[in-house]
Structures are given as C-alpha cells and as structure tokens.
C-alpha cells in the first residue's frame, strides 16, 4: 500500500508557528498576572517569603557567592 504524506507548505508552517507563539504568550501573560496575585494571597508563598527574609536578615545580605 502506498501512503502519501502531505506536508504543509512553508507559508502555512510560518503561520502556524506564529499562531502558536501568540497563544503561548497570551497564556504566559495570564500566568504572570496570577503569580502577582498569588504573591499576595497564597499562604505557601507568603510563608516562604518570610523565611527567605529571615534568612537574609540573619546573614546580613540577600546575596550569595557562587
């Protein structure tokens, strides 16, 4: 049995790539907005922030040498 695979042409591939990128970027922007909200309301993030601040205060700096 012969099967023929029909591939989209370059113009169509470019259009799909761009559509994918736009949709992906839209989701990323929504995600970033949600993260800003979570920073104020998510108990796990608030607790982690307090712990990080405590550590940095104890060390006297928020910078670490690698």
């Amino acid at each position: 049995m012969n099967t023929e695979i029909i591939l989209p042409d370059q113009e169509e591939l470019d259009r799909r790539k761009l559509a994918f990128a736009k949709e992906w970027m839209k989701r990323k922007r929504q995600e970033q907005q949600q993260m800003i909200e979570d920073a104020k309301t998510n108990p796990a993030i608030i607790a982690a922030r307090e712990e990080l601040k405590r550590q940095n205060k104890e060390r006297g700096t928020c910078i670490i040498k690698l």
């Binding site: 989209p8 591939l13 470019d14 799909r16 790539k17 761009l18 559509a19 994918f20 990128a21 736009k22 949709e23 992906w24 970027m25 990323k28 995600e31 970033q32 993260m35 800003i36 979570d38 920073a39 796990a44 993030i45 982690a48 922030r49 712990e51 990080l52 601040k53 550590q55 940095n56 060390r59 700096t61 928020c62 910078i63 670490i64 040498k65 690698l66």
Partner: protein, 166 residues
Amino acid sequence: MEPALSSYNFKFVGGEQNVYLFESRLACEYEIKFKPSGYLVSDADLEEYIFELVITLSINPFEPSLPAADGLLAPTIAQIVADFLNSHERVVVYICDDSDSRADARRKLFDGWFRRFSKKRYVKIELSLGQDENGQDFTAELVARFDNLLVPRIYESFLKAISAAK
C-alpha cells in the same frame, strides 16, 4: 579578570508548579515557576519532562515604574534553572518577545551568563517563532542538561506540536 560570581539567595517553595522565590537588594521580589507543560510536545510519553519557565516581578516597591537594571538577576535565574535541572531528564522551555527593551536586555544578560558559565553543562536551543503584524518577534528557547538523552526527541516533538497548531 573574571568578576566574582554572585547571585541572590533563593528559596524553593515547591508545589505542582515548582515555584522559587528571591528578593533583590532593591526589595523587589521575583517569582519563578516551572510549570508542567505537556501540551508543548506532541508525544504523550514525553509530556512529563517538559516545563515552561515563567518569571514575574511579583512585588515591585517602585510601581508604577520598573526597578533599575540589576546585574544579579541573570545569574540568579541561571542558578535556579540549574537547581531545577538537577533532575536530569527535565527540559525547560520559555517564550520571549521583544515587547519591552528591558525584557530583551534581561534575555541578553541571561544568554551572556549562560555562554560564559553554563555552556559546558547545559544545551540551549533557540527557535524563532516569527514576527507579528506589529513587528514583534517571538522566540522559544529550550534548556536542558548536556547529558539529557531525551533532548533530540523532545525538540522534534515540540516542533511537531507547533506545526500542528491551527
């Protein structure tokens, strides 16, 4: 002489979306997550290995302005990515645009840091996704450990998922 290598202290919060936090010397807080993103590949058996990197300035004391440029952001992000990639089969993918020059500058800093300090341990693949009607360019980047044998398959699968988009 190479500058001393430093980054900000960071904390792994965890959760399903693998959240990390760090605070800058300007009291800005950044949240980074590695979101499981199986939809970015077309093969079901690879879905568990792909994670989207999302970075947000979550607390900005300078609002509505942005904080001044900070040379420690790029090495801190690179350290966090390295920490996440300790589990060697993971692949991190992110999308960038050039919608603000600050974002582009951050990316260039990250790329520069990556080239200088990480290229022997990690691979990074860039893929242009095109330019929209406003002249905005989109680029996707994949980062993985050098010893991750799944990278070629994941990259192929990622390309297939893009090509199948409507």
